[in-house]
Symmetry: C2
Subunit: 252 residues, 2 copies
DNA sequence: TTGAACTGGTGACATCGGTCACCGGGACAC
DNA sequence: GTGTCCCGGTGACCGATGTCACCAGTTCAA
């Protein structure tokens, strides 16, 4: 889909760069709820069938409603989608790309989990429906395509459409499990193990064998200091678990 | 309710002691699903109105169904309700008492949160409905009265009764938040802060000003060693934040 | 070209917390 | 009594990790 959109932009001759946020109203009568990102809208009709490809469980009736009230948005890499203390008006479902969720206390951060395609953000969900501020931060890790659902409507859809209800129960469950893993890892694993797991997971999610990551960035996601990563990385390299090439980190 | 039950037991002249598990079928035709605890059943009709007191949001129709398929059980202190790797047949809702939930890796434990009155265990919920083994352990911290719902029926009730659906969304949300707090505390707080918060929370939940706790037990719940607790406790005492009396720990 | 910014690398050091060994006091059964 | 637990208390020690200072190579813009 991203490719298709890029072609469309090119065709229109618009002066959009990679960092320009592009928005398509699914139908022109789509409601315009608040968006927090720096955006430029492109009115561009989109096939419902296309959304169905990403969310095959959703009924035609529901997709019709989504088409009326929802919004599709392409967000480039590295954009803040949600931050702590913020109130939520729209709940995103990731269609393409990757969104990372993390917690922060006084400059120190910790990656909690990633939101991948066909997944959603339960923090937005709960914050949007209960009108409570967010406790976490979310950033796009890659350029991502998000389906935004207005919180008012979503509350109603959860009751009305079992598929939506089901989706969010699944998501809650998934995140609960991931948080549990995070806790276990924090409490029981030493840095080398945590770093190694992190790199494996990152490689899996990105589908890349060689990861181009700064030590500083890794340190941030693991809630530690840059020097520690440098040190531990060195050790893992000596143990033959990975190689640090000029192009990036290769896991063996 | 516990008091009422105890009186009833006394009246019957039964030789039940405090540690004997007593079970009441809400109605005699209640289905007998698997129970994992060491139990002795007492057939004892119970008023639906009584349950409604604990779960005021539940409709009469739903309570009627619960009465047919559910089970009420009094569980004494210190009984294992759920352990890692176990499959779940019945999902408990705590009516009275306190249940503690924790994770364990190789003898090392960590308290995750408490399940109080009118709350439920989402791990059981998810494990019961998806037929997936539990990832956590649960013990009664005090003598507790549990309402047990068969997993088969609960799946249906979630769809049928918005109140049930609502309850579990709330619970997921609550636990998500608590796990987030646990993670933040693990990552950002030192032992003295963690211990102090733990004691405050314990005091609040138990409604006791003086806590009778072994250092060893605290160490277990905070995922550390007994000597560490002794040391840190001493420091907190010197800082004037608490007093260690023969009766227990008094927070100031 | 030059300077600034960023990156990885490294040694020295402090701190926290986990481990071990051992002690004395109290409770309890025999 | 006496032996056996359990409990809290303590000192010694060590390993993991966070912190600081500093360095050299690279990139990039002025």
């Amino acid at each position: 889909m991203v490719a298709k959109v890029k072609r469309a932009i090119k065709k229109r001759g618009a002066k959009f760069q990679a960092e320009v946020l592009s928005v398509w109203l699914i139908r022109s009568r789509g409601c315009k709820f608040l968006c927090r990102f720096n955006t430029r809208s492109v009115d561009m009709p989109l096939e419902i069938a296309e959304i169905k490809k990403y969310l095959p469980g959703f009924s035609t009736e529901l997709l019709d409603e989504i088409a009326v009230h929802g919004l599709i948005k392409e967000v480039p890499e590295g954009v803040e989608i949600l931050k702590e203390g913020q109130y939520v008006k729209a709940i995103p479902i990731v269609l393409e790309g990757l969104v990372k969720v993390f917690t922060r206390v006084e400059e120190k951060e910790l990656l909690l989990y990633y939101i991948g395609p066909a997944q959603s953000c339960i923090m937005s969900f709960s914050a949007g429906l209960s009108n409570v501020p967010s406790r976490i931060f979310a950033f796009t890790e890659d350029t991502s395509v998000l389906l935004l659902l207005p919180s008012g409507k979503l509350g109603q859809w959860v009751k009305q459409y079992p598929q939506v209800n089901e989706l969010f129960f699944q998501q809650y469950n998934l995140r609960y499990t991931e948080m549990l893993d995070t806790i276990n890892s924090l409490l029981f694993d030493r840095m080398d193990q945590r770093l190694y797991n992190y790199l494996l997971e990152k490689s899996r999610l990105k589908g890349e064998k060689v990861l181009s990551l700064r030590h500083k960035q890794i340190a941030g996601e693991l809630g530690t200091a840059r020097e520690v990563i440098t040190r531990v990385m060195k050790r893992l390299e000596q143990e033959g678990k990975l190689r640090q090439l000029p192009e990036g980190i290769q896991i063996i």
